[in-house]
Protein backbone atom coordinates (compact mmCIF):
# COMPACT_ATOMS: atom_id res chain seq x y z
CA UNK A 1 0.00 0.00 0.00
CA UNK A 2 1.41 3.42 -0.95
CA UNK A 3 1.46 6.19 1.61
CA UNK A 4 -0.96 9.04 0.91
CA UNK A 5 0.65 12.16 -0.53
CA UNK A 6 0.05 15.51 1.03
CA UNK A 7 -0.85 17.20 -2.26
CA UNK A 8 -3.41 14.47 -3.08
CA UNK A 9 -4.97 14.70 0.36
CA UNK A 10 -5.32 18.47 0.06
CA UNK A 11 -6.84 18.15 -3.43
CA UNK A 12 -9.41 15.70 -2.06
CA UNK A 13 -10.50 18.18 0.57
CA UNK A 14 -14.11 19.31 0.22
CA UNK A 15 -15.32 22.83 0.89
CA UNK A 16 -17.12 23.23 4.20
CA UNK A 17 -18.62 26.63 4.95
CA UNK A 18 -17.98 28.16 8.37
CA UNK A 19 -20.78 27.10 10.69
CA UNK A 20 -22.31 29.55 13.18
CA UNK A 21 -20.85 27.48 16.03
CA UNK A 22 -17.36 27.85 14.56
CA UNK A 23 -17.84 31.61 14.22
CA UNK A 24 -18.99 31.62 17.83
CA UNK A 25 -15.92 29.67 18.93
CA UNK A 26 -13.60 32.07 17.10
CA UNK A 27 -15.43 35.15 18.32
CA UNK A 28 -15.62 34.07 21.96
CA UNK A 29 -12.03 32.96 21.97
CA UNK A 30 -10.76 36.29 20.61
CA UNK A 31 -13.02 38.42 22.83
CA UNK A 32 -12.07 36.44 25.91
CA UNK A 33 -8.42 36.77 24.92
CA UNK A 34 -8.64 40.54 24.64
CA UNK A 35 -10.59 40.97 27.90
CA UNK A 36 -8.25 38.65 29.77
CA UNK A 37 -5.19 40.54 28.55
CA UNK A 38 -6.34 43.56 30.53
CA UNK A 39 -7.31 41.51 33.60
CA UNK A 40 -4.20 39.32 33.68
CA UNK A 41 -1.77 42.16 33.05
CA UNK A 42 -3.37 44.04 35.94
CA UNK A 43 -3.26 40.98 38.23
CA UNK A 44 0.35 40.15 37.40
CA UNK A 45 1.53 43.73 37.86
CA UNK A 46 -0.48 44.18 41.06
CA UNK A 47 -0.09 40.88 42.87
CA UNK A 48 3.07 39.49 41.29
CA UNK A 49 5.17 42.62 41.23
CA UNK A 50 8.86 42.00 40.64
CA UNK A 51 11.30 44.03 42.72
Amino acid sequence: MTEPKLADEIKKMEYEPLLPIEKKLIGWSLCLGVVLIVVLVWVSHTFFEVQ
Binding site: L6, I10, L32, G33, F48
Partner: protein
Protein backbone atom coordinates in the same frame (compact mmCIF):
# COMPACT_ATOMS: atom_id res chain seq x y z
CA UNK B 1 5.54 -8.69 33.68
CA UNK B 2 7.89 -7.15 31.11
CA UNK B 3 5.20 -7.59 28.48
CA UNK B 4 2.68 -5.82 30.70
CA UNK B 5 5.06 -2.92 31.21
CA UNK B 6 5.75 -2.81 27.49
CA UNK B 7 2.07 -2.62 26.72
CA UNK B 8 1.56 0.34 28.99
CA UNK B 9 4.76 2.27 28.47
CA UNK B 10 4.74 5.20 26.11
CA UNK B 11 7.71 7.31 25.07
CA UNK B 12 6.27 9.93 27.40
CA UNK B 13 6.49 7.72 30.48
CA UNK B 14 9.87 6.39 29.42
CA UNK B 15 11.19 9.95 29.31
CA UNK B 16 9.94 10.42 32.88
CA UNK B 17 11.66 7.22 34.02
CA UNK B 18 14.99 8.10 32.37
CA UNK B 19 14.88 11.68 33.64
CA UNK B 20 14.01 10.65 37.19
CA UNK B 21 16.63 7.90 37.16
CA UNK B 22 19.43 10.35 36.33
CA UNK B 23 17.95 12.92 38.70
CA UNK B 24 17.89 10.25 41.44
CA UNK B 25 21.51 9.23 40.85
CA UNK B 26 22.56 12.87 41.15
CA UNK B 27 21.38 12.87 44.79
CA UNK B 28 24.19 10.46 45.60
CA UNK B 29 26.31 13.47 46.62
CA UNK B 30 24.06 13.82 49.66
CA UNK B 31 25.19 10.42 50.86
CA UNK B 32 28.86 10.85 50.10
CA UNK B 33 28.66 8.98 46.79
CA UNK B 34 29.36 11.09 43.73
CA UNK B 35 27.57 8.74 41.33
CA UNK B 36 27.58 11.02 38.29
CA UNK B 37 30.81 12.96 38.76
CA UNK B 38 32.47 11.10 35.89
CA UNK B 39 30.11 12.44 33.21
CA UNK B 40 31.97 14.27 30.46
CA UNK B 41 31.88 18.02 29.86
CA UNK B 42 33.43 19.96 27.00
CA UNK B 43 34.87 23.35 27.87
CA UNK B 44 35.73 26.07 25.36
CA UNK B 45 39.02 25.07 23.75
CA UNK B 46 41.84 26.24 21.57
CA UNK B 47 43.60 22.89 21.74
CA UNK B 48 41.21 19.98 21.36
CA UNK B 49 43.21 17.78 23.72
CA UNK B 50 42.15 19.99 26.63
CA UNK B 51 38.44 20.22 26.08
CA UNK B 52 37.06 17.03 27.63
CA UNK B 53 36.99 16.46 31.36
CA UNK B 54 34.74 14.94 34.01
CA UNK B 55 32.27 17.34 35.62
CA UNK B 56 33.32 16.69 39.23
CA UNK B 57 36.72 17.56 40.75
CA UNK B 58 36.44 14.19 42.56
CA UNK B 59 37.19 12.59 39.18
CA UNK B 60 39.88 15.06 38.11
CA UNK B 61 42.30 12.18 37.50
CA UNK B 62 40.04 10.60 34.91
CA UNK B 63 41.21 11.30 31.32
CA UNK B 64 38.66 13.17 29.21
CA UNK B 65 38.34 10.40 26.65
CA UNK B 66 37.65 7.82 29.35
CA UNK B 67 35.03 10.14 30.77
CA UNK B 68 33.45 10.41 27.30
CA UNK B 69 33.50 6.65 26.87
CA UNK B 70 31.97 6.11 30.32
CA UNK B 71 29.23 8.62 29.50
CA UNK B 72 28.51 6.86 26.23
CA UNK B 73 28.39 3.39 27.82
CA UNK B 74 26.13 4.60 30.63
CA UNK B 75 23.71 6.24 28.22
CA UNK B 76 23.84 3.29 25.86
CA UNK B 77 22.82 1.01 28.74
CA UNK B 78 20.05 3.30 29.97
CA UNK B 79 18.67 3.98 26.51
CA UNK B 80 18.87 0.35 25.44
CA UNK B 81 16.83 -0.68 28.46
CA UNK B 82 14.41 2.02 27.37
CA UNK B 83 14.42 0.58 23.86
CA UNK B 84 13.50 -2.84 25.28
CA UNK B 85 10.50 -1.27 26.98
CA UNK B 86 9.51 0.46 23.74
CA UNK B 87 9.85 -2.82 21.85
CA UNK B 88 12.47 -1.34 19.53
CA UNK B 89 14.88 -3.49 17.54
CA UNK B 90 17.68 -3.75 20.11
CA UNK B 91 20.68 -4.36 17.88
CA UNK B 92 19.60 -1.68 15.47
CA UNK B 93 18.88 0.69 18.33
CA UNK B 94 22.29 0.18 19.96
CA UNK B 95 24.13 0.82 16.68
CA UNK B 96 21.94 3.79 15.79
CA UNK B 97 22.25 5.28 19.26
CA UNK B 98 26.03 5.00 19.05
CA UNK B 99 26.00 7.00 15.81
CA UNK B 100 23.56 9.55 17.23
CA UNK B 101 25.57 9.98 20.43
CA UNK B 102 28.98 10.39 18.83
CA UNK B 103 27.91 12.67 15.98
CA UNK B 104 25.98 14.80 18.46
CA UNK B 105 28.86 15.00 20.90
CA UNK B 106 31.37 15.77 18.15
CA UNK B 107 29.15 18.69 17.15
CA UNK B 108 29.07 19.77 20.77
CA UNK B 109 32.87 19.67 20.96
CA UNK B 110 33.19 21.57 17.68
CA UNK B 111 30.76 24.20 18.95
CA UNK B 112 33.05 24.74 21.95
CA UNK B 113 36.00 25.73 19.73
CA UNK B 114 37.13 29.12 20.98
CA UNK B 115 36.90 30.71 17.52
CA UNK B 116 33.23 29.77 17.46
CA UNK B 117 32.22 29.93 21.10
CA UNK B 118 34.33 32.52 22.93
CA UNK B 119 32.49 35.71 23.78
CA UNK B 120 34.12 39.11 23.35
CA UNK B 121 35.17 39.28 27.00
CA UNK B 122 36.81 35.85 26.75
CA UNK B 123 39.08 36.53 23.76
CA UNK B 124 42.06 37.51 25.94
CA UNK B 125 41.62 34.45 28.14
CA UNK B 126 41.97 32.17 25.11
CA UNK B 127 44.65 34.27 23.42
CA UNK B 128 42.67 34.80 20.21
CA UNK B 129 41.84 38.01 18.38
CA UNK B 130 38.38 37.12 17.01
CA UNK B 131 35.54 34.67 17.39
CA UNK B 132 32.01 34.18 16.12
CA UNK B 133 30.85 35.00 19.64
CA UNK B 134 28.25 32.23 19.58
CA UNK B 135 28.93 30.78 23.07
CA UNK B 136 29.38 27.04 23.60
CA UNK B 137 25.69 26.50 22.83
CA UNK B 138 26.80 26.87 19.18
CA UNK B 139 27.19 23.09 19.38
CA UNK B 140 23.40 22.83 19.26
CA UNK B 141 23.23 24.77 15.99
CA UNK B 142 26.03 22.68 14.51
CA UNK B 143 24.27 19.47 15.53
CA UNK B 144 21.07 20.72 13.92
CA UNK B 145 22.86 21.63 10.68
CA UNK B 146 24.67 18.28 10.56
CA UNK B 147 21.34 16.50 11.14
CA UNK B 148 19.72 18.55 8.36
CA UNK B 149 22.59 17.71 6.03
CA UNK B 150 22.23 14.00 6.73
CA UNK B 151 18.47 14.09 6.32
CA UNK B 152 18.55 15.95 3.01
CA UNK B 153 21.78 14.77 1.41
CA UNK B 154 22.42 11.36 2.98
CA UNK B 155 18.90 9.96 3.40
CA UNK B 156 20.18 6.38 3.50
CA UNK B 157 22.26 7.16 6.57
CA UNK B 158 19.24 8.94 8.09
CA UNK B 159 17.09 5.85 7.50
CA UNK B 160 19.75 3.51 8.86
CA UNK B 161 19.85 5.29 12.24
CA UNK B 162 16.12 5.93 12.46
CA UNK B 163 15.68 3.52 15.40
CA UNK B 164 17.49 5.97 17.70
CA UNK B 165 16.29 9.16 16.03
CA UNK B 166 13.81 10.07 18.74
CA UNK B 167 13.91 13.83 19.35
CA UNK B 168 10.73 13.78 21.44
CA UNK B 169 12.12 11.16 23.81
CA UNK B 170 15.43 12.99 24.23
CA UNK B 171 13.88 16.38 24.84
CA UNK B 172 11.27 15.07 27.26
CA UNK B 173 13.90 13.25 29.32
CA UNK B 174 16.00 16.42 29.22
CA UNK B 175 13.09 18.53 30.42
CA UNK B 176 12.56 16.20 33.40
CA UNK B 177 16.24 16.66 34.35
CA UNK B 178 16.01 20.38 33.67
CA UNK B 179 13.32 20.65 36.36
CA UNK B 180 15.87 19.99 39.10
CA UNK B 181 18.35 22.51 37.74
CA UNK B 182 15.70 25.19 37.36
CA UNK B 183 14.33 24.26 40.79
CA UNK B 184 17.62 25.06 42.50
CA UNK B 185 17.86 28.30 40.51
CA UNK B 186 14.30 29.24 41.51
CA UNK B 187 14.78 28.26 45.17
CA UNK B 188 17.21 31.13 45.65
CA UNK B 189 14.68 33.68 44.35
CA UNK B 190 11.29 32.24 45.20
CA UNK B 191 9.44 35.54 44.76
CA UNK B 192 10.81 35.98 41.26
CA UNK B 193 10.16 32.32 40.41
CA UNK B 194 6.52 32.60 41.51
CA UNK B 195 6.12 35.73 39.47
CA UNK B 196 7.67 34.10 36.40
CA UNK B 197 5.34 31.11 36.77
CA UNK B 198 2.22 33.23 37.11
CA UNK B 199 3.17 35.49 34.22
CA UNK B 200 4.02 32.46 32.09
CA UNK B 201 0.61 31.03 32.87
CA UNK B 202 -1.07 34.30 31.84
CA UNK B 203 0.95 34.50 28.63
CA UNK B 204 -0.12 31.07 27.47
CA UNK B 205 -3.80 31.67 28.19
CA UNK B 206 -3.55 34.66 25.91
CA UNK B 207 -1.63 32.73 23.30
CA UNK B 208 -4.20 29.93 23.19
CA UNK B 209 -7.20 32.19 22.96
CA UNK B 210 -5.79 34.56 20.36
CA UNK B 211 -3.47 32.41 18.26
CA UNK B 212 -5.70 29.41 17.79
CA UNK B 213 -8.80 31.35 16.87
CA UNK B 214 -6.96 33.54 14.37
CA UNK B 215 -5.18 30.68 12.62
CA UNK B 216 -8.32 28.58 12.52
CA UNK B 217 -10.27 31.49 11.05
CA UNK B 218 -7.64 32.21 8.37
CA UNK B 219 -7.29 28.54 7.43
CA UNK B 220 -11.06 28.09 7.14
CA UNK B 221 -12.12 31.42 5.67
CA UNK B 222 -9.31 32.33 3.28
CA UNK B 223 -7.63 29.02 2.49
CA UNK B 224 -10.83 26.99 2.49
CA UNK B 225 -9.39 24.20 4.60
CA UNK B 226 -11.88 21.69 5.91
CA UNK B 227 -12.41 21.41 9.64
CA UNK B 228 -10.44 18.17 9.70
CA UNK B 229 -7.39 20.03 8.38
CA UNK B 230 -7.95 23.41 9.99
CA UNK B 231 -8.02 22.12 13.59
CA UNK B 232 -4.65 20.31 13.62
CA UNK B 233 -3.17 23.07 11.49
CA UNK B 234 -4.32 25.80 13.88
CA UNK B 235 -3.07 23.81 16.85
CA UNK B 236 0.23 22.95 15.20
CA UNK B 237 1.00 26.48 14.09
CA UNK B 238 -0.35 28.30 17.07
CA UNK B 239 0.09 26.16 20.14
CA UNK B 240 2.73 23.54 20.47
CA UNK B 241 3.43 21.89 17.19
CA UNK B 242 3.41 18.16 16.96
CA UNK B 243 1.74 17.16 20.22
CA UNK B 244 -1.00 19.77 19.87
CA UNK B 245 -1.70 18.83 16.24
CA UNK B 246 -2.01 15.16 17.16
CA UNK B 247 -4.02 15.68 20.34
CA UNK B 248 -6.54 18.08 18.84
CA UNK B 249 -6.66 16.10 15.59
CA UNK B 250 -7.69 13.02 17.47
CA UNK B 251 -10.09 15.08 19.61
CA UNK B 252 -12.14 15.96 16.54
CA UNK B 253 -11.67 12.47 15.07
CA UNK B 254 -9.54 13.61 12.13
CA UNK B 255 -7.93 10.82 10.14
CA UNK B 256 -4.47 10.12 11.67
CA UNK B 257 -2.78 11.03 8.39
CA UNK B 258 -3.87 14.67 8.74
CA UNK B 259 -2.11 15.62 12.00
CA UNK B 260 0.90 13.57 10.95
CA UNK B 261 1.26 15.58 7.75
CA UNK B 262 0.78 18.82 9.65
CA UNK B 263 3.39 17.67 12.16
CA UNK B 264 6.04 17.19 9.50
CA UNK B 265 5.52 20.78 8.47
CA UNK B 266 5.64 21.94 12.08
CA UNK B 267 9.05 20.35 12.60
CA UNK B 268 10.47 21.96 9.46
CA UNK B 269 9.33 25.42 10.47
CA UNK B 270 10.49 24.91 14.05
CA UNK B 271 13.95 24.33 12.61
CA UNK B 272 13.72 27.57 10.64
CA UNK B 273 12.61 29.46 13.75
CA UNK B 274 15.32 27.86 15.83
CA UNK B 275 17.96 29.07 13.42
CA UNK B 276 17.05 32.73 13.49
CA UNK B 277 14.75 33.70 16.40
CA UNK B 278 17.41 33.42 19.16
CA UNK B 279 19.65 35.77 17.18
CA UNK B 280 16.76 38.18 16.66
CA UNK B 281 16.10 38.03 20.40
CA UNK B 282 19.74 38.77 21.14
CA UNK B 283 19.71 41.71 18.74
CA UNK B 284 16.51 43.37 19.93
CA UNK B 285 15.71 42.01 23.39
CA UNK B 286 19.06 41.93 25.16
CA UNK B 287 17.70 44.56 27.58
CA UNK B 288 14.60 42.46 28.27
CA UNK B 289 16.03 38.96 28.81
CA UNK B 290 12.87 37.43 30.28
CA UNK B 291 10.74 38.80 27.45
CA UNK B 292 13.13 37.03 25.08
CA UNK B 293 12.78 33.77 27.05
CA UNK B 294 8.99 33.90 27.07
CA UNK B 295 8.97 34.79 23.39
CA UNK B 296 10.91 31.63 22.52
CA UNK B 297 8.35 29.57 24.46
CA UNK B 298 5.42 31.21 22.69
CA UNK B 299 6.81 31.47 19.18
CA UNK B 300 8.92 28.36 18.60
CA UNK B 301 6.85 25.23 18.08
CA UNK B 302 7.61 21.74 19.44
CA UNK B 303 9.03 21.19 22.92
CA UNK B 304 12.49 20.40 21.70
CA UNK B 305 12.96 23.41 19.49
CA UNK B 306 11.37 25.78 21.98
CA UNK B 307 13.33 24.82 25.07
CA UNK B 308 16.47 24.54 23.00
CA UNK B 309 15.95 27.97 21.51
CA UNK B 310 15.53 29.23 25.08
CA UNK B 311 18.92 27.75 25.92
CA UNK B 312 20.58 29.40 22.92
CA UNK B 313 18.83 32.72 23.55
CA UNK B 314 19.99 32.64 27.15
CA UNK B 315 23.58 32.10 26.30
CA UNK B 316 23.54 34.71 23.50
CA UNK B 317 21.91 37.34 25.71
CA UNK B 318 24.09 36.61 28.75
CA UNK B 319 27.17 36.92 26.54
CA UNK B 320 25.98 40.20 25.03
CA UNK B 321 25.01 41.68 28.39
CA UNK B 322 28.38 40.76 29.86
CA UNK B 323 30.40 42.03 26.91
CA UNK B 324 28.55 45.25 26.16
CA UNK B 325 27.04 46.34 29.46
CA UNK B 326 29.24 44.55 31.97
CA UNK B 327 26.11 42.92 33.46
CA UNK B 328 26.45 39.31 34.53
CA UNK B 329 23.01 37.79 34.83
CA UNK B 330 22.55 34.53 36.68
CA UNK B 331 22.23 31.69 34.16
CA UNK B 332 19.09 29.60 34.13
CA UNK B 333 16.39 32.27 34.34
CA UNK B 334 15.84 32.92 30.65
CA UNK B 335 15.70 29.21 29.89
CA UNK B 336 13.43 28.78 32.94
CA UNK B 337 11.03 31.33 31.49
CA UNK B 338 10.95 29.53 28.13
CA UNK B 339 10.44 26.19 29.86
CA UNK B 340 7.71 27.51 32.16
CA UNK B 341 5.79 28.89 29.19
CA UNK B 342 6.26 25.67 27.25
CA UNK B 343 5.23 23.45 30.16
CA UNK B 344 2.01 25.42 30.71
CA UNK B 345 1.32 25.21 26.98
CA UNK B 346 1.71 21.44 27.13
CA UNK B 347 -0.58 21.18 30.14
CA UNK B 348 -3.23 23.15 28.32
CA UNK B 349 -3.08 21.01 25.18
CA UNK B 350 -5.07 18.37 27.01
CA UNK B 351 -7.65 20.91 28.17
CA UNK B 352 -7.94 22.51 24.74
CA UNK B 353 -8.30 19.11 23.09
CA UNK B 354 -11.07 18.32 25.58
CA UNK B 355 -12.90 21.56 24.79
CA UNK B 356 -12.66 20.89 21.04
CA UNK B 357 -13.74 17.27 21.51
CA UNK B 358 -16.84 18.46 23.32
CA UNK B 359 -17.70 21.16 20.76
CA UNK B 360 -17.21 18.75 17.84
CA UNK B 361 -19.11 15.96 19.49
CA UNK B 362 -22.04 17.96 20.83
CA UNK B 363 -22.35 20.89 18.44
CA UNK B 364 -20.69 20.27 15.10
CA UNK B 365 -20.98 16.58 14.31
CA UNK B 366 -23.67 15.97 16.91
CA UNK B 367 -22.45 12.48 17.75
CA UNK B 368 -25.05 10.91 19.98
CA UNK B 369 -23.28 7.58 20.33
CA UNK B 370 -20.45 8.88 22.48
CA UNK B 371 -19.82 11.12 25.43
CA UNK B 372 -16.80 13.25 26.07
CA UNK B 373 -15.56 12.65 29.58
CA UNK B 374 -13.01 14.39 31.76
CA UNK B 375 -10.79 11.29 31.76
CA UNK B 376 -9.78 12.30 28.24
CA UNK B 377 -7.86 15.24 29.71
CA UNK B 378 -5.71 12.78 31.62
CA UNK B 379 -5.33 10.52 28.58
CA UNK B 380 -3.97 13.40 26.52
CA UNK B 381 -1.97 14.98 29.33
CA UNK B 382 1.75 14.95 28.44
CA UNK B 383 3.11 12.78 31.23
CA UNK B 384 6.69 14.06 31.11
CA UNK B 385 5.35 17.31 32.58
CA UNK B 386 4.76 15.33 35.80
CA UNK B 387 8.44 14.40 35.84
CA UNK B 388 9.42 18.02 35.29
CA UNK B 389 7.15 19.20 38.10
CA UNK B 390 8.41 16.47 40.42
CA UNK B 391 12.09 17.35 39.98
CA UNK B 392 11.36 21.09 40.11
CA UNK B 393 9.31 21.01 43.30
CA UNK B 394 11.38 18.35 45.10
CA UNK B 395 14.47 20.53 44.76
CA UNK B 396 12.63 23.68 45.84
CA UNK B 397 11.19 21.83 48.83
CA UNK B 398 14.60 20.52 49.88
CA UNK B 399 16.16 23.96 49.48
CA UNK B 400 13.43 25.65 51.51
CA UNK B 401 13.26 23.05 54.29
CA UNK B 402 17.01 22.55 54.59
CA UNK B 403 18.83 25.67 53.34
CA UNK B 404 22.13 24.26 54.63
CA UNK B 405 22.15 21.62 51.87
CA UNK B 406 21.65 24.04 48.98
CA UNK B 407 25.35 23.81 48.08
CA UNK B 408 25.19 20.03 47.72
CA UNK B 409 21.88 20.26 45.85
CA UNK B 410 23.56 22.65 43.41
CA UNK B 411 26.38 20.17 42.83
CA UNK B 412 23.88 17.35 42.31
CA UNK B 413 21.71 19.32 39.90
CA UNK B 414 24.81 20.59 38.09
CA UNK B 415 25.80 16.99 37.38
CA UNK B 416 22.32 16.02 36.21
CA UNK B 417 22.33 19.17 34.10
CA UNK B 418 25.35 17.92 32.16
CA UNK B 419 23.22 14.97 31.06
CA UNK B 420 20.49 17.44 30.19
CA UNK B 421 22.95 19.18 27.86
CA UNK B 422 23.84 15.88 26.18
CA UNK B 423 20.16 15.05 25.67
CA UNK B 424 19.66 18.53 24.26
CA UNK B 425 22.41 18.15 21.69
CA UNK B 426 21.02 14.74 20.67
CA UNK B 427 17.62 16.42 20.34
CA UNK B 428 19.04 19.05 18.00
CA UNK B 429 20.82 16.48 15.89
CA UNK B 430 17.79 14.22 15.60
CA UNK B 431 15.42 17.13 14.87
CA UNK B 432 17.70 17.82 11.91
CA UNK B 433 17.64 14.18 10.87
CA UNK B 434 13.83 14.05 10.77
CA UNK B 435 13.55 17.32 8.85
CA UNK B 436 13.58 16.30 5.24
CA UNK B 437 12.77 19.45 3.27
CA UNK B 438 13.15 17.62 -0.01
CA UNK B 439 10.53 14.93 0.66
CA UNK B 440 8.07 17.45 1.95
CA UNK B 441 8.59 19.66 -1.10
CA UNK B 442 8.13 16.67 -3.43
CA UNK B 443 4.90 15.79 -1.61
CA UNK B 444 3.47 19.20 -2.46
CA UNK B 445 3.37 21.21 0.74
CA UNK B 446 2.47 24.41 -1.18
CA UNK B 447 -0.90 25.46 0.22
CA UNK B 448 -0.26 24.10 3.69
CA UNK B 449 3.13 25.79 3.87
CA UNK B 450 1.66 29.06 2.65
CA UNK B 451 -0.90 29.26 5.44
CA UNK B 452 1.84 28.27 7.87
CA UNK B 453 4.21 30.98 6.66
CA UNK B 454 1.52 33.66 6.63
CA UNK B 455 0.29 32.85 10.12
CA UNK B 456 3.63 32.14 11.74
CA UNK B 457 5.63 35.00 10.33
CA UNK B 458 2.65 37.27 9.76
CA UNK B 459 1.36 37.45 13.31
CA UNK B 460 2.14 34.53 15.63
CA UNK B 461 5.75 35.49 16.17
CA UNK B 462 4.87 39.16 16.66
CA UNK B 463 1.81 38.63 18.85
CA UNK B 464 4.00 36.26 20.87
CA UNK B 465 6.59 39.01 21.25
CA UNK B 466 3.87 41.47 22.30
CA UNK B 467 2.32 39.11 24.86
CA UNK B 468 5.77 38.29 26.23
CA UNK B 469 6.54 41.98 26.53
CA UNK B 470 3.23 42.67 28.27
CA UNK B 471 3.86 40.11 30.97
CA UNK B 472 7.63 40.10 31.30
CA UNK B 473 8.93 43.57 30.54
CA UNK B 474 10.94 44.96 33.39
CA UNK B 475 11.46 41.49 34.88
CA UNK B 476 15.17 40.73 34.90
CA UNK B 477 17.18 37.73 36.07
CA UNK B 478 19.12 38.21 39.30
CA UNK B 479 22.76 39.17 38.95
CA UNK B 480 25.31 36.38 39.19
CA UNK B 481 27.26 36.09 42.39
Amino acid sequence: MTRKIQEKLSEDWLAVIIGLFIFGLAWGVFFGADLLGWVVTAGIWTSITNTLKPVSPDFAGLPGLVSLLATYLFLLLVMTIGAVLLKANLRKFAVSFTVVFFISYLCWILGAWAYIAATTNQLGKFGISWSLNLTSEAGYIIALLVGLFISNFAPRLARSISEAVRPELYIKAAIVMLGGYLGITAAEQLGLATSVMFRGFCAIIEAYLIYWALVYFIARKYFKFSREWAVPLASGISICGVSAAIATGSAIKARPVVPIMVSSLVVIFAVVELLFLPFLAQKFLANEPMVAGAWMGLAVKTDGAAVASGAITESLILAKAAAEQGINYQPGWIMATTTTVKVFIDVFIAIWAFILAWIWSAKIERRTDETVHLGQIWQRFPKFILGYMATFFVVILVAVLAPEVVGRAKTAMGEANVFRGIFFVMTFFTIGVVSNFRTLWEEGIGKLALVYVICLFGFIIWIGAFISWLFFHGVRPPLAG
